[in-house]
């Protein structure tokens, strides 16, 4: 692996101005709050965290669909803003959650998959057709589906079409935002196998966003845990799943329901005090729900502390840690 990360975020913040009432003055909402991340070539970075914590916003920034309010996004060490937009679109492609609404129902599968080629004027129609045939083969669809429409396909087939569309430009980085959560488990496993295969075969790099932690554990090699716009822990997949540090990571992993009958539903010890992102709790954003909160947690925000294979942001660790 080369030293320059293929994708890097440096102190990226995205602030939305949101109104809470019709005549209220807008207030800032930090959907992404000073996030720094690196993804090496060929890595799968899993991004987890509860609904509304900023995962999709982060994905949109990486795809150039949203501009960061502050901070920089770098691809191969070069800042994104400085690069040609279409060049970037070629290198970073998305796969979204819903294979039902993300495909235009009036376009044939051929039109859908070849669209990026036509938009970017890649090759003539003969070479475009060849490319579509190749990519269909790679994602495991028969060539005859080219002339069919999304409504005639199953959920898994549609998600394969979405993957084919993302891969036809031969991107280096694929941003997957909940790529299998709308699918049956019998179909989910096919897509996960396919993503794994494509990574091994083409050295693809993924940012993989999912609520399903078992799936993240299966596919990712690094994991970042997000809470209210901040990355509160980042580690290798073993580091996180076998030795998590942050209390929120712990609650998250506690709530994974493995298919073991008779074990009952675990107690996450998480309070129900859902935070308001417009007015986040002072100090550590997580303190009102944290079972391990200490007096300083409601006073000062914890610093980022490096760990053996990542980092954590919590008063329990580092120089600030309580000496017991």
């Amino acid at each position: 692996m080369s030293d320059t990360p293929v994708l890097e975020l440096r102190n990226v913040t995205k602030t939305y101005q949101v109104k809470q009432g019709m005549f209220a003055t807008p207030k800032p909402l930090k959907a992404v709050n000073d996030v720094s991340l690196k993804i090496g070539r060929g890595e799968v970075l899993g991004l987890v965290g509860e609904s509304g914590c900023g995962k999709s916003t982060l994905a949109k920034i990486l795809l150039g669909l949203e501009q960061p309010t502050e901070g920089q996004v770098l691809v191969d060490g070069k800042e994104i803003g400085a690069q040609n937009r279409s060049e970037l679109a070629r290198r970073i492609q998305p796969i979204f959650q819903d294979p039902y609404s993300s495909l235009n129902p009036r376009k044939s599968i051929y039109d859908i998959i070849s669209l990026p080629l036509r938009v970017h004027n890649v090759g003539d129609s003969a070479s475009q057709e060849k490319a579509v045939r190749e990519i269909l083969d790679i994602v495991g669809l028969p060539a005859r589906v080219m002339n069919t429409y999304p409504s005639q396909m199953s959920g898994g087939q549609r998600q394969r079409v979405a993957i084919a569309r993302a891969l036809i430009m031969k991107p280096e980085i694929v941003i997957c935002d909940e790529p299998t959560s709308a699918l049956d488990v019998s179909v989910q496993s096919q897509i996960l196998n396919l993503l794994g295969e494509l990574r091994r075969e083409f050295g693809l790099t993924y940012l993989f966003i999912s609520h399903n932690l078992a799936v993240v554990e299966h596919l990712a090699n690094r994991v970042a845990v997000m809470y209210l716009g901040r990355i509160v822990e980042e580690a290798s997949v073993e580091g996180l799943f076998d030795r998590r540090r942050h209390p929120y990571s712990d609650a998250l992993l506690q709530s994974v329901l493995t298919p073991d009958p008779g074990m009952g539903v675990p107690d996450t010890h998480l309070g129900a005090a859902y935070p308001n992102p417009i007015d986040p709790p002072k100090g550590c954003h997580f303190h009102p729900r944290c079972a391990k909160a200490m007096p300083q947690c409601s006073q000062a925000a914890p610093l980022t502390v490096p760990t053996e294979d990542g980092r954590v942001e919590c008063h329990l660790y580092g120089a600030q840690a309580p000496t017991a």
Binding site: S189, G196, A214, L252, L257, P259, P261, V265
Partner: protein, 335 residues
């Protein structure tokens, strides 16, 4: 168990007229549910799980036809109960939590009014008592500052909060049977665990029977006493959770269990099991085993009527031509 089941269903069949003919969406389902017991229905999207629960609640659309040899709730024949009788039963003794919370919350009324109404309609209580009960239940489902929520409208709540309100609403009358259709699918895993715990606790506390519909095998394993696996409108396997997970008999059930990565068991990054192929169309005549287009054990006999195989004195049963759910020369990779 000797007590008579609170819910008993035999040969439930649901047909829907569609453009090209009749969709045989649910075909001959049998199950029993005892008081205080949880049945989880799991299965492929479109296999008829929601229709089955709507049929039990008497909420199928007018065009949809429902037949059954028996469909009894505490000895009451649901097939013969009038619309009015069903409405009464629904509020008072059986209630439902829907897949999409917005379908059962009225955007024009406050949370407090909707919760109170659920009780006022069916029980002789004052408005104050009804509101007090609403606050009590909102607190139970983990909503902080419950009193102040009463004056809020559904759209002012997050998805997770709405789902909790739905659960509180379903519990207002302390029903004897609760049917929850994917109650946690749209929620975060942490909230999912909290809500499931709550449902299980309340169910034990109130002695309710529960039918929980879900895609999530983890949820099933942790919550179910009994499991029913549906495929293309049929119940292909039913049994106690420990048996269905420990010794799955139907090839589809075994296939499903191989598809999911299991933390601590499945090697990270290893190839997962798959069930290639798609669900058959259920429009027009349906015969034989509906799983045969995807089954590694299929033989010619799978086109004929499929026998029901019973194990453990009928507690665990499945439908397959093979007595043990496997062909003599299996092509299936072991789990």
């Amino acid at each position: 168990m000797t007590d008579t089941p609170i819910l008993s269903v035999r040969n439930l069949t649901i047909d829907i007229p569609v453009g090209g003919g009749t969709l045989h969406a649910v075909r001959g389902i049998d199950f029993d549910l005892n008081r205080g017991e949880t049945l989880c229905i799991v299965g492929e999207s479109g296999s008829g799980k929601s229709l089955t629960s709507l049929a039990l609640m008497g909420l199928l659309g007018k065009k949809i036809s429902r037949r059954a040899d028996r469909m009894e709730f505490d000895g009451i024949d649901l097939m013969k109960t009038s619309q009015r009788g069903m409405r009464k039963l629904r509020g008072l003794r059986m209630s439902m939590i829907f897949q999409e919370p917005m379908t059962s919350l009225n955007p024009a009324y406050t949370i407090g009014d909707q919760l109170a109404e659920a009780l006022l309609l069916h029980k002789k209580v004052s408005r104050e008592q009804a509101r007090a009960r609403a606050v009590e239940l909102l607190e139970k489902v983990g909503i902080t500052a419950a009193k102040s929520r009463l004056s809020q409208y559904p759209h002012q709540l997050s998805g997770g909060l709405r789902q909790r309100v739905m659960i509180a609403m379903a519990l207002m009358c302390e029903p004897e049977l609760i049917i929850a259709d994917e109650p946690t699918t749209a929620l975060d895993v942490t909230i999912q665990a909290q809500i499931l715990r709550l449902l299980v606790d309340l169910q034990k506390e109130l002695g309710m029977a529960m039918i929980l519909i879900t895609h999530d095998l983890g949820v099933v394993a942790r919550v179910a006493d009994k499991v029913a696996v549906m495929y293309a409108g049929e119940l292909v396997e039913t049994g106690p959770a420990a048996d269905v997970f420990g010794a799955p008999a139907h090839p589809y059930t075994r296939g499903l269990l191989r598809c999911i990565p299991v933390p601590g068991k499945t090697e990270r990054g290893a190839e997962l099991g798959t069930i290639p192929g798609i669900v058959p169309s259920l429009v027009g005549e349906v015969s034989g085993c509906p799983f045969r287009t995807r089954c590694d054990h299929a033989v010619d006999a799978c086109r004929q009527p499929i026998p029901l195989r019973e194990q453990q004195a009928g507690r665990h049963s499945f439908r397959c031509v093979h007595p043990d759910g496997r062909a003599a020369s299996p092509q299936e990779v072991p789990a």
